[in-house]
Structures are given as C-alpha cells and as structure tokens.
C-alpha cells in the first residue's frame, strides 16, 4: 500500500504531558535516592592544588564528597564523552587535578537531601594554581589549527570570481549560543534487577552502553540506558554529559541510587553550545543573475581537546546551481568546554551567512531576491553532479511568495511605511538539511483485543516522534490511537540509535511501516486470504490467536546487514545526504516581515511565512509546530541570543533564562506554515525526509534581510540589537 497524506491529529502523548503525568528522567522515584551537587571550578585554566572538604563533610545529611582522587579509575577513550564512537571527545573532568575550563566540576557532594548537597557544595574550598588562558577565538592565546579541516571544490571558483561582472565579498559573524532546553540536564543512576540503569533525558540512551560502560570498565550490556522523555534536546543531550560518569560512579561506590540535576547556571559551563564562527562569502554572477562562483571560508571556535567538526560547507553549494565552488573550513582552539551540535548546527550559521550574501548579491545586481533564487534553481548537485531524490524548493519559493504577498517588495530599502510610521522590511531566505536515516530493530505485537505494542529505536524530545510512529500504525493497521504502547528511548526494549540530525522521522516511520506491513503479510498467510479494510486486530481475532508478533530489521538505503550489528553495539550508522544514485535534502523557503520603529529602532517580526518540502508530512499538527519552533529559534538567533563572555575571565556571564535573551511570546507575531507534502519514495517506504532541523535553516537570514530592507542597514553580526540600528 502506498503512503497517504496524513490529516491533522492530536499528539499521541498530549494528555499525559499536559496533565503532568509524563515522568521525565529526573522524576523517577527510587527508595533511598541520594542527591548530588557539583562544585564548579572558579578559574578558567590551571591545576587544583588542594581541596578542603572538611566543612562539607560536616554538613548534616552529607554522605560523601568526591574529588578527582576518587575517580582516577575512570577510563577516557576517544569515545568516552561523545555519542558513542564520536572521535576525540575525550576530556572528562574530575579524573585528574587539571582544570580546563571555567565551571567544570571539581568536586561532587552526595547527600540525603538536595538542600544538604547544595550546602555541602558551597562549603567545599579549592586552591588552584592558575594558568594563562584564552576564552575567545579572537584573542592572542587562541590557537588556530594550521590546516583547514575540510574543503569542497568544483571547477575553478577563484578564476570565475576574478573575472565576474558582479560580485560580493562579505564577512558575517555568528555568536556563541546555548540551547537552554527547559528540562535541565540530569543524571539518575539506580540499580534495578541487578543492573545499573541510567536515566537521562537524553537523545542517545545507547550512549551509556557504548560510552559510559567503557569509562567504568563495565561490559556494555551491564548498563541499561533509559530516556523516558526529553524536555527539549536540540543537540545538547546527544551524548554522555560531563556529569554522567561521575553520578554513575558515585552510585556504584555508595551502592545507592544517586540523582544530579545540573543547575542552569552550571550548564552554561558544562554542557555543549554553538560556537562562535566567522564566515567570509564571495559570490560572483553574470548580468542575468546566473551564479558563476561561490567561495566560502569559515573559522569556528573549538575547545583545546576535542574534535567537534566544522561542517558549514556541506549545504550552501547544494542550494543553487553554482558554476564553480570552493569551500574551506578552519578551527581555532580556546579554553572552553567542548562546543557541540545545536539545532541546525552548521546549517543555520552557514545559511545565515550565505543567504544574506545572496541578498547582497541581489542588491548588487538590482534583482528581486526571489527571482535571483529561482533563476539559480537546480535539480542536480553542483559538487557531485548527482540528481536530488526530490527537490521542490522552487515551489516553496513561489507558494511562499504568494502566501506572504511578496509583490509588495520594493527594490529600494525603507520605502514601505506602516500607518504608525514604522518602516516595513520584507526578507526572504532558503534553507536545506540533509535527509538522513539510521537502522532499526523493531518488534511489533498486535493483540486480538486491539492493543498494539511497538518497540523500536528513537527518542521523544517533544518533536512528536511517538506521533510519527503512531501515524504509520494507524494507517497500515487501523489501530486505535488509545490502544498504542510505543516503547522508544530504552535500550531494555530495543537497540537505540542517537536521535538527532533530523533523522528521527525518516528512520522511525519506515521502521514502523515495515513492521506493520510485515504483520499484515503474516496475518494474511494465517487467514489464507487477502486482508479486508476492517481493523486488523478484528481479523486477527477470528484466527483465535491472542496476538501476532513480528520483528523487522530496517536498513537505511545503501547500508548492508553490518549496520544492524553496529546499531546493537551502540555505534552510529547514519546515511545521507549522498546515496548511491542521488542526494537527498529537505528544503524550505522563509519570508519575513519586520517593522522597525523610527525613533528607538526597535525591530518587531510581524509575520513569517515558511513553506517546507520535507517529503510526506507525518502529522500536520506536530509538523507545523516543528516549523514554528524553528522559526522562533531563527527569530532568537537574528535578534536576541548571544552568550556574553568577558575575555579577562572566561565563562558566560548571562547564564540564566532572564539574562540569556530568548524570544518571549510577545516577540512572536504570526507564523504561517505550509508544506509541499510530496512523498519522497526514492528515499524510504514512508516517503519521509525530515523536518526538525530544516525548519530553522534560513529563518535568521530572512529576518536579517528584512531588517536591511526596512532600514538600508546591512548588519553582518548576530544578534542585531537596538544599538546596531540607531
């Protein structure tokens, strides 16, 4: 059966969440649970000379104060801190006396109550020998890597640029940002059925078996990772945290369950973040607006000790039909904690820089920026020459332009004036994100009474993954949504793959669909006739079997059986964007309308229209919600968010939700979302490409371009704040 278009449908776990019944990782009750609190380093770099724990131990209720002397046995390997085998993420605080970044844990206080743990942590005093440090990529102690970390080339871009009639040569800067999911990062280590279980609201329950067990000298199967729900992950919860092994080790040493909820102020210094980056973009075009060349060079901040890759160059050359392309990426090492993936990790900063540069090129050419983009649409990847599996970007642009009323656009900035005197600006930008997939091992059991249970790989982080799985089971089997039991995020039920990179739906939907189709097939064999339109469980009931269970291994396109073995071992197996016969991306076009107050220059985003091509839409309601969330992130990036760091001290000064400025409801106007909703059947049997990341890509650029259109000012750093426009 071919996949059908999905209707709007309530989120499968909406009631549970709204009523507060959904138990998140830190909500799990355990008898005898101990509470832990970390002591953060108050220097940016150096050595611990001594730690005085006497006052902390004397606090009533404190059970134990751990320091690096207690944890020297923790093994670090290149795989230790990452999502399984990610190379180079090797630094683990508290296994030696060195301090590598401000705020890293230097002691762990465990107590009978949270209050005692906090008081104990405040009572620990540490003496340090400080060392010179660099907290910023622009300062003199920062260390640029000598060689670029990656390059892309096609044709002779330098020559094409040198000879072109129309060029832009601009540099855009992106600040450091922090994810700030509302659910704080927590670790609970408890003993159940003789094994150690780790509860974290993680995007990667298997990271514990793959990474944490190894750090503790345990066999992978001796650890069970459980991620019941993730209260926003955005990439910050994609692996073992700085605290994870400390809490697990404390539980093992004390033989009691231990929980640590990291305070938000500390998360700004222990969890990952989006690093600073600089982007030089050179574009060349002929008089008709044909893109002759793009040269894109980036520099990204990194920590001293890890290998967080820079990948800004992967998407921009695929967005338009460039005649020639040259991309080059560099990194600079500084003394901070490891940066990491944050929603649309490199695609957002890259689209910000390149889509603003395209807008500047349109200005240089005197062209409508929508027309310029349409004129350079392509159905083939300029780098490999392969076709795209599906690409409806032109349709996103034309439909978006119509919904938005792009015909109001004027070539002269500042020409549109609202009734109250505000200057109106209109901006457009496009985005793309690779369509990736991962393997799954899925077990599906349908009972004759209508109960339906599925166990597969995936993590519910609010994106609606359970609803995606439900959509396939409802469509193929006609099951009652109220009788679904969807078990994901738990290595005790099925092997788990990291959920990130917009591959959640593209992996889980085909897995659920394949299992459901197999179940139909087996039932048809049982009944000896083709199934009817009646709900499948009713047809099962007539066979007098209480249930029917099937297991299916789902291999992503281009992978062989080895992928399943890697999945079982907790190794990452991710495909895309390049497949044997094509490249696969999701696409989006954003249109933004801003109003700028003439006197104080306050910018208000009145309306955004976004049209996405994400293949088949699995659930209209959660999909629209994903896109609105991505646009809100774009508004935050364009106008609000930045980490404030004083280079004399390091660390983040605005380390709470009051001072790290994210948008509030009053900042958000209308966000109108539409979808092309054409299944990509070349990619997988569900026709799904992925949406969570692409939703944000290009959104910030559309707003920055709209600010330029309103004011005539081209601001090349983020966020654009009031002082930039005065």
């Amino acid at each position: 059966m071919t996949p059908s278009r999905n209707a709007d449908r309530p989120r499968i776990d909406a009631h549970e969440k709204v009523l507060g019944r959904a138990l998140y990782a830190a909500d799990q009750p355990f008898p005898g649970l101990l509470h832990a609190m970390t002591v953060p380093a108050t220097i940016a770099k150096g050595q611990i000379l001594s730690i005085d724990t006497a006052a902390a131990v004397a606090v009533p209720g404190v059970v134990r104060v751990f320091t690096h002397g207690d944890f020297a046995q923790i093994r670090t390997t290149p795989a230790a801190r990452g999502a399984y085998g990610q190379p180079g993420k090797g630094y683990q605080p508290m296994i030696g006396p060195q301090v590598r970044h401000r705020g890293e844990p230097v002691a762990l206080v465990v107590a009978e109550t949270l209050e005692a743990a906090v008081e104990g942590a405040e009572a620990v005093t540490v003496r340090y020998a400080e060392e010179p440090f660099s907290a910023e990529m622009d300062d003199s102690l920062a260390t640029p890597e000598p060689e670029p970390v990656s390059q892309q080339a096609s044709g002779d871009a330098e020559a094409a640029f040198a000879n072109a009639a129309h060029i832009v040569d601009v540099e855009y800067r992106h600040p450091q940002q922090h994810h700030n999911p509302i659910e704080l990062i927590s670790t609970t280590a408890a003993f159940e059925d003789g094994t150690l279980r780790i509860y974290e609201g993680t995007q990667s329950a298997a990271a514990f078996a793959g990474g944490l067990a190894g750090m503790m000298g345990m066999e992978p199967q001796a650890l069970r990772g459980v991620s019941p729900y993730t209260g926003g992950g955005f990439g910050q919860k994609n692996g073992v945290q700085e605290q994870s092994v400390l809490v697990a080790s404390a539980a093992l040493l004390l033989r009691r369950p231990v929980k640590l909820v990291m305070p938000r102020g500390q998360l700004f210094h222990t969890a990952s973040y989006r690093p600073h980056s600089r982007h030089r973009v050179r574009l060349a075009a002929d008089g008709d607006g044909r893109l002759l060349a793009g040269i894109y060079e980036t520099v990204q901040q990194n920590s001293r000790y890890d290998g967080f890759a820079s990948d800004h160059g992967a998407n921009p050359p695929r967005l338009y039909g460039y005649g020639a392309w040259l991309g080059r990426e560099r990194i600079v090492r500084v003394d901070t904690q490891t940066p990491g993936h944050q929603r649309a990790p490199h695609e957002h900063p890259a689209s910000y820089a390149t889509e603003c540069a395209i807008d500047e090129l349109a200005g240089a050419l005197g062209m409508d920026p929508v027309a310029l983009r349409l004129a350079n649409d392509t159905q083939r990847d300029p780098l490999t020459g392969k076709p795209f599996s599906s690409r409806h970007l032109a349709a996103c642009l034309t439909r978006g332009a119509a919904l938005f009323g792009w015909d109001r656009w004027t070539s002269e900035p500042g020409a549109l004036v609202a009734a109250n005197g505000d200057r109106i600006g209109l901006g457009v930008a496009c985005g793309s994100y690779k369509a990736a997939m991962t393997p799954s091992v899925t077990t599906l059991r349908l009972s004759a009474n209508g109960q339906c249970r599925i166990a597969t790989s995936g993590h519910e982080m609010g994106q609606g993954l359970r609803s995606v799985i439900a959509a396939e089971l409802i469509e193929v089997l006609g099951v009652d949504p109220g009788k679904l039991d969807i078990r994901i995020g738990d290595t005790g039920h099925a092997p788990q793959h990291l959920t990130a990179g917009s591959w959640g739906a593209g992996s889980a939907a085909p897995a659920a669909r394949a299992a459901a189709l197999k179940l139909r097939e087996e039932l048809a064999q049982l009944t000896g006739a083709a199934l009817t339109d009646e709900p499948v469980h009713a047809q099962l009931a007539r066979t007098r079997r209480p249930f029917l269970e099937v297991s299916v291994d789902t291999l992503p396109l281009g992978k062989d059986r080895q992928a399943i073995e890697q999945l079982r071992r907790g190794m990452p197996v991710v495909t895309g964007p390049e497949y044997p016969d094509f490249l696969a991306f999701s696409w989006i076009a954003h249109f933004a309308e801003v109003h700028v107050e003439p006197s104080t220059r306050r910018v208000r985003v009145r309306r955004v229209v976004s049209v996405a091509d994400c293949g088949r839409v699995m659930n209209r309601r959660t999909a629209e919600s994903q896109v609105r969330g991505g646009v809100v992130w774009g508004i935050g990036a364009a106008l609000r968010e930045t980490a404030e760091s004083d280079p004399r001290f390091g660390g983040v000064l605005n380390n709470d939700l009051a001072e790290y400025v994210v948008p509030v409801n009053a900042d958000i106007g209308a966000i109108d979302v539409d979808f092309i909703d054409e299944p990509d059947n070349r990619l997988n049997i569900s026709g799904v490409k992925g949406l969570g990341e692409v939703a944000m890509v290009g959104a910030a650029a559309a707003i920055v371009n709209a600010v330029h259109h309103a004011t005539g000012k081209r601001i090349r750093h983020l966020p654009i704040r009031i002082e930039d426009l005065l």
Binding site: E122, T600, I722
Partner: protein, 333 residues
C-alpha cells in the same frame, strides 16, 4: 543552602521585634522574588527570615483622599490593576505592568520592589570571588568598569561602581514625587523617595538609606492632574520579561498648550532612579513639538558618561524620553 529559621509576623511591631531579636543574620521577606534569587546566587545568606507579607493592613490600596496610598505589602499586580491607578496614573500602572512577568507581579510587593538589587552580571556571578565587585566585597574592585558594560549606567556612576538601579516602579514614583513611609524601632518616619537611594560614590555596597530593621510600610503619591498626561515607556532587549535598557517616566501638568510642571525620571541608565530636572526646566512654558522634546531629552543626558559598550544608551535614552514626552503631551489634547 544554609539552614534558616522562619517566622511570620502579624504586625510591623512584631516583625521589628523579631528582627532585632534575631540579630545579624536577619532579613525581612515579603514576595521573596528578589531575595530567593539572591540567596541562590549566594549574595544573600540569611539565617533568619521574618515574613512581612501578611502584616495587618499592609496590602492596603487607598485612592480616596488627596493622595494615593499603597501599603508596602500591596502586590505589584493589584496596584497595576487598581481602577484609579490604571485610569488616572498610567505612568504608575505601566511601570508595574511592564516589570517582570505576571507570575512575579502576583507575588512581588510594591514595598519590596523599591529595594530590588542590581542586575549587574559581575555582581550576580561573583560567588567565591570569581569577579571583583565592590558591592559584594567592598574594596575588591569593579569588573564592570572596563568590562562588559553594555547594560551599565551612563548617569551617576562612580570610580567604584557603574551598576544600574534595575527597577521601573521606583522610577515612576521618583517622577511623581512619592514619599516613603518607614517604620523602625523608634516609630515611623516619612522621606521623599529621592532620599531612599544612595549614589554609589566610594561605598557602592550601601545602596539605601533605610535602617537595617526598618520596614517599608507605605508609599504615598500626591494626586495630580499630570497623572492623566502620563506614560512609562520602557525599551528593552525583548518585548516582555526583561529589564530596561532605557525607560522614561513622564507626567505633564499642562497650562493650555504649554507645559507647566513636567515630571520626568529615567530608568535603566542610572545608578539610582534618576530625576531629570534639567529636562523639566527646559520644558517649562514650552509647547511640545518633536524638536523641543528631543532638546529637552538631550538635556537630560548632558552629564552622561559612556563606557566601552553602553554609549548607545545616551542616544537611545534621549530618543526614548522624547517619544515619551510626545506621547504624554498628546494625551492632554
């Protein structure tokens, strides 16, 4: 967190007695919206909390006489929504409704709000001596001078401190010539709000003139027709739930089409709630047009001094005040 004792007082007298008896570690608590925050940051470490949120009659709002009277424990939300305040004294209502969030305004008191402490990031993050701060540790220095000073004051700063006075409500009260009723061991005294705040000078850790055991029992605002021509304009980094980059409290007594007495105060730019007397003097007897408003507003910032990242506040402040003057003036027509 440090163990502490907690008592709830029924009258101001009881509270003061309890405070004095508790000794050095005593602090009053009302809404707790600022104190809990400061406790979590390690800035306040009280050993004894005396709760004054429910003192007898302390949440009284009385607008019947020749003045507006607000009990010290009246909630910000209730004062903002009072029918007389929100109709005839918009500057007061808006200064409250544009502060914090509805949840916080439902807890916070108008008396406690007068004593809110600065949002200077170095002050807030200074636990364990991470950042020098003369407010937290007198004599340790000021990291904000020469540091990240985008949010810091351009008016009233000293060589020891440039932290901004964070409130909105005190700015509006400053413009409206409010008086503050304080009760202490020796009875009650009344001071003009302008005398409540100390400039930082060399002792930025001393922020208020209020005695340690004194309680803000009331706030009085003289009734004036200027309240109808008033506005509180707040410009910030987002549309809600943020402290002011610049705010302007304006109320105008008009004499025909000319300004009689202008009441003007500024927030977000100064170390204390800032009365802009120069702007008031400039406006007296003038008709209000855009040019005049901007000239008056510029006069208000004549003594402003910029640091590394906050020079924009001078220009933004003048434009914000000019907008507020025009808005307030337009209400008299």
């Amino acid at each position: 967190m440090k163990p502490l004792s907690y008592v709830r007082a029924g009258t101001a007298r009881e509270a003061i007695d309890a405070f004095v008896a508790a000794g050095d570690g005593a602090r009053y608590i009302a809404g707790g919206t600022n104190l809990y925050d400061l406790m979590k940051l390690g800035i306040e470490r009280p050993a004894h909390l005396i709760d004054i949120a429910d003192l007898e009659g302390a949440d009284r709002i009385d607008t019947d006489g020749d003045r507006l009277f607000f009990g010290g424990a009246a909630l910000m939300a209730n004062v903002a929504e009072d029918p007389v305040v929100s109709r005839d004294y918009l500057v007061l209502a808006e200064s409250l409704s544009k502060a914090a969030s509805q949840q916080l305004r439902n807890m916070a008191t108008v008396g406690g709000n007068l004593l809110q402490r600065t949002r200077c990031p170095y002050f807030r993050n200074g636990v364990n001596g991470t950042y020098p701060c003369n407010k937290r540790e007198p004599g340790s220095g000021c990291a904000a001078l020469g540091g990240l000073d985008r949010s810091q004051a351009v008016l009233g700063a000293s060589e020891a401190c440039n932290a901004v006075s964070p409130g909105d409500w005190p700015v509006a009260l400053m413009a409206m010539d409010a008086t503050i009723e304080l009760q202490g061991r020796d009875g009650t005294r009344v001071i003009p709000i302008s005398e409540l705040y100390r400039p930082p000078s060399q002792t930025p850790h001393l922020e208020f003139t209020i005695g340690r055991e004194e309680i803000v029992t009331g706030i009085a605002v003289p009734k004036t027709a200027a309240g109808r021509n008033s506005v509180y304009l707040k410009v910030r980094d987002r549309e809600s739930y943020a402290f002011a980059l610049v705010s302007a409290a304006v109320a105008l007594e008009m004499d025909g089409d000319r300004v009689g007495q202008a009441h003007v105060a500024l927030g977000g730019v100064a170390t204390v709630p800032w009365r802009a007397r120069a702007a008031e003097a400039f406006l007296r007897g003038r008709t209000l047009d855009r040019e005049g408003a901007l000239a008056a507003a510029t006069a208000a910032f004549a003594d402003a001094r910029a640091g590394r990242h906050n020079a924009f506040k001078i220009e933004l402040g003048a434009r914000t005040l000019a907008d507020a003057l025009i808005t307030a003036g337009s209400k008299s027509q």
